[in-house]
């Protein structure tokens, strides 16, 4: 037997208290947008580090640096020694995929020195000193504009401006940057989707060494022929105790970074959950008030022959309609708000993207919360005494 109230009843009930309905829908929209944002943030954070991780790339860094690339110092000749000693290294066109690099968190100033003003601001940036071999180990990096840099030139990741907190046009090709006492012209821009690299500035290694008065590197990235084949590299590090090296597969390194940022992820979800909780509480109160307002009407529907479950279902449909309407608005809001947005975190930045997964989390979440919010009202309806409720004013 069909025992449900007609859908029209649920739909038209929404118009009985327009302000209450609108406020509930707005709360749903806010929750949906927040859930999408939280999901996009967490997924962006995870994928940024996960995207940089590769099974066939290992990071060689100083054993005393406690896995901190900024503190690590590796002998300048370490790269050449590794090339000569480790047979598993991938060679591309005869060139070994070994990249000695300097990683430096530094202050970056915009424009040439000749145009510098007394009140100019220094922006924190992440500069990586590299050679052309960097492209062999960091496969995700693709030049999207210009060409690789030479002496006095840099290329910048497309999220570098966001990471530094400066307008996009400040880091356009042809612009000038100053850091570590040197002046560099931007000659190219690169993409490295889903990696931390996308927020970096790449400068020539030898020039950066000179400017920072270093005769070493921070790390050496090594790419091997087959994924996980790091035994030769580890043996090299063990044999050359004088170099004080440690080998970390890049997948493990970035996993550890993900773990490091776990509290931030948790915080994002906790914030979303708190606001969602408040919205559920508000929505739940609104529904309870709706039941109180309609107590006699609901009792008369029971007298007609509808079960309290049928009434509860109709109420759930009302809640879902509001949640769905608010959810759609929230998704649109999130899409607009997150469009092209990115987040700065530590020495990196990542893009926020309302992808299908985040949309599902936002919309599904708000529907679930809408349903959850009906629970107190449903319990109340289930306990309704028809005889008593029929006497309600």
């Amino acid at each position: 037997m069909a025992r449900s109230l007609p859908l029209d009843y649920a739909v038209r009930n929404l118009a009985r208290r327009p302000l209450r309905t609108v406020l509930s829908a707005l709360a749903s929209a806010l929750v949906a947008a927040l859930l999408v944002a939280a999901s996009a943030f967490v997924r962006g954070l995870d994928s940024t580090f996960a995207g940089a991780a590769r099974d066939d790339v290992a990071i060689v860094l100083s054993s005393v640096a406690q896995r901190d690339v900024l503190r690590s110092t590796v002998s300048a000749g370490a790269g050449s020694l590794i090339e000569a000693d480790v047979p598993e290294i991938l060679r591309v066109g005869g060139t070994p995929a070994v990249s000695s690099e300097i990683h430096s968190g530094t202050n970056v100033r915009l424009g040439p020195l000749s145009e510098a003003r007394a009140d100019e601001v220094a922006h924190p940036g992440f500069v990586r000193g590299v050679t052309d071999r960097a492209f062999l180990v960091h496969e995700a990096v693709t030049l999207i504009e210009g060409r690789p840099g030479r002496t006095g030139e840099v290329i910048v990741g497309r999220l570098a401006a966001r990471q530094m907190g400066v307008p996009e046009e400040s880091l356009a090709v042809g612009k000038v940057l100053r850091f570590e006492g040197g002046e560099f012209t931007i000659v190219g821009r690169f993409a490295a989707p889903g990696t931390t690299i996308e927020a970096e500035i790449w400068a020539p290694l030898s020039e950066l060494r000179g400017l920072t008065k270093r005769d070493d590197s921070s790390v050496v990235f090594v790419r091997v022929e087959r994924p996980g084949e790091f035994a030769g590299l580890e043996l090299f590090a063990l044999r050359r105790l004088d170099l004080e090296l440690v080998v970390i597969p890049s997948s493990l390194y970035y996993q550890e970074l993900v773990a490091y940022f776990r509290p931030i992820r948790a915080l994002a979800w906790i914030m979303a959950a708190l606001i969602a909780g408040a919205a559920v509480f508000g929505g739940s109160n609104a529904l309870n008030a709706a039941v109180q307002d309609r107590l006699r009407e609901l009792a008369s529907l029971c007298a007609v022959g509808y079960s309290t479950w049928a009434l509860a279902r109709s109420l759930a449909v009302e809640a879902l309609l509001v949640a769905a309407a608010g959810g759609v608005a929230g998704l649109a809001l999130a899409k607009v708000a997150l469009h092209g947005g990115s987040i700065r975190i530590a020495m990196s930045a990542f893009r926020l993207d309302a992808d299908a997964h985040s949309v599902l989390v936002g919309f599904g979440g708000v529907l679930l919360l809408g349903l959850f919010g009906t629970a107190p009202a449903v319990i109340r309806i289930r306990r309704i005494s028809i005889a008593t409720a029929l006497k309600e004013p």
Partner: protein, 230 residues
């Protein structure tokens, strides 16, 4: 056609520390096709008795047998569907759903049955025609007078063709003219369609429409003279 029997029915309510007993060891038989009128002062238990007959409430003791079914023994999950099949309830206030039209209000009980849209339309139209409000089908309750609302409520009560109609002070909120219209309608349903009607009222004029009248006072039933008997 449906007959009713109450056998030693007691109903108690607890209000704080007080126990009220509107019905105590009440026994009653209503024959199929009766227009039974129950009179009595406020708080005498008339509505309680009506609610027991309509399976809206359960007795604390005794049996309520309607159409051969002992309602006290009917599982809770079956009560709603039993009501939809056997009882049409007319309240003192029409209790129409304000967001639905007269047509949709009358249609409500039919959603409980597997029925085509065309069949629902046919039945709703017949019910509205029977109460003389077919031309008001598209009106919302607030666009109807009190008497019209009550007639729509009667149409809702009869649309699923239940054998028993219970009416709780159906004319209590109406003027004389509207009340007469509603009572005439109930009489016609009783005479022309053979519906068993149990009506609670304060109004002696309304009571006069019944084929049998009883007075409920202090939890006890007293048989009154049949309507029309001097």
């Amino acid at each position: 056609m449906i007959s009713i029997a109450l056998d030693g029915v007691t109903k108690r309510y607890t209000k704080g520390e007080h126990v009220l007993t509107p019905l105590e060891n009440v026994s009653l038989e209503i024959a199929s096709g009766d227009f039974f009128v129950l009179l009595g002062p406020s708080g005498s238990g008339k509505t309680t008795l009506l609610n027991l007959l309509a399976a809206i409430d359960r007795p604390d003791a005794g049996r309520v047998i309607v159409g051969g079914t002992d309602l006290a023994k009917l599982p809770s999950g079956r009560l709603a569907s039993w009501r939809s099949e056997h009882v049409g309830y007319v309240f003192q206030q029409a209790n129409l759903v304000p967001v639905l039209t007269a047509y949709e209000n009358v249609e409500l009980p039919l959603w409980l049955f597997p029925m085509s849209r065309a069949e629902r339309h046919r039945r709703v139209s017949l019910a509205l025609e029977a109460v003389g409000l077919l031309e008001r089908a598209a009106h919302l309750p607030r666009q109807l007078s009190g008497g019209q609302e009550q007639r729509v409520a009667i149409a809702r009560a009869i649309v699923a063709d239940p054998p028993l109609i219970v009416a709780d002070e159906p004319t209590g909120n109406l003027d004389h003219e509207s009340a007469d219209g509603v009572l005439t309608l109930l009489s016609r349903l009783n005479v022309e369609r053979g519906k068993t009607i149990v009506m609670v009222t304060h109004d002696p004029r309304a009571a006069a429409r019944g084929t049998r009248r009883m007075q409920l006072d202090k939890g006890q039933l007293l048989d009154l003279q049949p309507a029309g008997t001097p």
